[in-house]
């Protein structure tokens, strides 16, 4: 029974992937990968030493931004597209539950986002090695945490797509992903200047909002820091899975009650 459920979800996920290929999303990724190569390729024009950090910085920044954008855009359109084009109904007429359908969509978006991420990372790795920059342990930790963060981003965007319009969902999801670091910095700086009840409020907000900034360890890679302790990776994985569970659970609650 479990295997059959898994198979159905994978089938829906595979269908989402095929749909993305049909919509030529994969070509966008290839073009973006090409941009990474082009950007890193112009560094020779500077004719200055010590370009390793600079090259890694630009490449990893591009990867961070593009991966988040792709994950949000792909996840945000899955359910609204199915509802709008009424392709959801024949699917639900088959022995597929709404939760399985939601999970299938999550698997599909994760697959596509992961494919994009690893494509970017493969291109970046080739460029780094080509320029004589070794890929240390920290780079692989970066890859792993970036991938784990996709669970959180995809589930959050899927969940929000059930309660918000497409445009609002994309905007809010991107804000939560890109603004996480700014939010953390602001909270740290202003915390001690606030009144006690304001401090409680901001502390609660700090604990509730997903901390996507913690998954971005690109600075440690760029500046040649040693790999982070393994317990941090374990905690971050657990953190991402808990939030993924919460978002998918909330999404299911909403999807279950959605009048079709």
């Amino acid at each position: 029974m479990e295997a059959a459920v898994g198979f159905k979800e994978l089938t829906i996920g595979w269908a989402s992937l095929l749909e993305a290929i049909r919509r030529k999303d994969i070509y966008v990724m290839l073009i973006l990968s090409g941009i990474i190569i082009a950007v890193t390729g112009i560094f020779n024009a500077f004719d200055v030493p010590e370009l390793r950090k600079f090259m890694m910085d630009v490449s990893l920044s591009i990867i961070n931004v593009f991966t988040v954008i792709i994950a949000v855009l792909v996840s945000a359109r899955q359910l609204p597209y199915e509802l709008e084009h009424r392709t959801l109904y024949p699917m639900l007429a088959k022995p597929v539950g709404r939760f399985q359908f939601l999970m299938g969509k999550f698997v599909g978006t994760m697959g596509l986002s992961s494919a994009a991420l690893f494509m970017f990372l493969a291109v970046a790795s080739v460029v780094f090695v080509g320029f004589g920059t070794p890929l240390g342990g920290m780079f692989f930790q970066y890859m792993y945490l970036r991938w784990v963060s996709l669970f959180l981003i995809c589930s959050m965007t899927l969940c929000l797509s059930l309660v918000l319009t497409h445009a609002a969902n994309v905007t809010i999801s991107l804000l939560l992903c890109m603004g996480a670091s700014m939010f953390t910095r602001t909270v740290i700086i202003v915390h001690d200047s606030l009144s006690p009840w304001q401090q409680k409020l901001i502390t609660a907000a700090y604990w509730i909002f997903p901390h996507l900034d913690l998954f971005d360890v690109s600075k440690r890679v760029i500046h040649g820091w040693l790999p982070a302790p393994s317990w941090t990776l374990a905690v971050m994985t657990l953190y991402a899975l808990i939030y993924t569970g919460i978002f998918l659970g909330l999404g299911h609650l909403r999807f279950r009650r959605l009048p079709l």
Binding site: F43, V48, E50, F54, S193, L214, V217, K219, T232, V235
Partner: protein
């Protein structure tokens, strides 16, 4: 579409691009513009909303890249200034000056608080382990790593004379490539012909690196002239203006023109009252003049 048709379209596109390239070479001289904008053009530009927005975007991006250089200098560790509350408790940052115009505040606390001051519990612990963090005073990395960022800064905002000057300083003193620094500064002068900072930087390069005082003197003179034209000089301009007087006086002194050196130092003291180094060089030159004056020379019979 069949393959041969696709290939034909591709070939036609390449031919068209090549033709356009050839055509642009022919048209280029006819479209050449003068280096400066006219008064009317500047007026329209200053009253155009898109131009203002683009200018603001350029300035912001330039400032972001400047912050990036500070980030590199500290190996990715973010420092912050003290808050108003902390300042009332007497906490103050101290400035680090590693030369050139790379003076920056990094004597403040790290943005990620230390464990004993962090209220975030496990999140704080995770951040200290996952982001660049080191307690204690800031340590600087190799400034050569900053050079590409300054170059991009000047590409985005060619009016950023401090980026030109600082990059030239790092190219000279850390990358040991004064020729490249000179070329870079000359590029800056092309874009900012009235900058005392860049004229002074070129003069100092001739003075310090190659001891070419004949070439350094006109640069310092241009820096002084440019500085005088500015009604209210900012910190960098004021420093360059004072240094131009100082090094002009020193260049004259090196050439043995002590009277000209003294005149320059005297004028420099009047123009830059707060620059103590000009006072010092003035006293040194005056002493040398006094020592060399005929009234001070000792006669063979021991009489003055």
């Amino acid at each position: 579409m069949r393959l041969w048709k696709k290939l034909l379209v591709g070939a036609a596109c390449i031919a068209l691009a090549a033709f356009a390239g050839m055509l642009s070479r022919k048209v280029e001289p006819a479209l050449a513009t003068t280096a400066g904008f006219g008064g009317e053009e500047l007026h329209h530009a200053s009253h155009s909303m898109p131009m203002t927005l683009l200018g603001q975007f350029r300035t912001n991006l330039d400032a972001y890249l400047w912050l990036k250089t500070i980030d590199y200098l500290h190996n990715g560790i973010a420092y912050r200034p003290y808050t108003t509350v902390e300042r009332t408790k007497g906490m103050r940052e101290h400035e680090h000056d590693i030369g050139g115009f790379a003076k920056h505040p990094c004597g403040g606390p790290t943005l990620i608080p230390p464990k004993e001051k962090d209220w975030r519990g496990v999140f704080g612990e995770l951040e200290r382990n996952l982001q660049p963090y080191r307690p204690g005073p800031a340590r600087h990395s190799d400034p050569q790593e900053l050079i590409p960022w300054y170059r991009i800064q000047t590409m985005i905002n060619p009016l950023d004379v401090n980026a030109y000057a600082t990059c030239a300083f790092f190219l000279t003193d850390f990358a040991k490539e004064p020729e490249k620094a000179l070329a870079f500064l000359e590029e800056g002068i092309e874009k900012n012909p009235h900058s005392p900072v860049l004229h002074q930087a070129i003069g100092q390069l001739y003075f310090d690196k190659w001891k070419r005082y004949d070439q350094a003197i006109p640069c310092f003179q241009k820096a002084i002239a440019a500085g005088k034209e500015i009604q209210v000089r900012d910190e960098a301009q004021e420093k360059a203006f004072g240094d131009a007087y100082l090094f002009l006086a020193r260049a004259y002194r090196e050439r043995g023109e002590l009277d000209a050196a003294l005149r320059t130092a005297k004028e420099g003291m009047a123009e830059c009252a707060t620059n103590n180094l000009i006072r010092v060089i003035y006293r040194v030159i005056k002493k040398e003049i006094d020592e060399n004056s005929p009234s001070n020379t000792t006669e063979p019979n021991g009489q003055q």
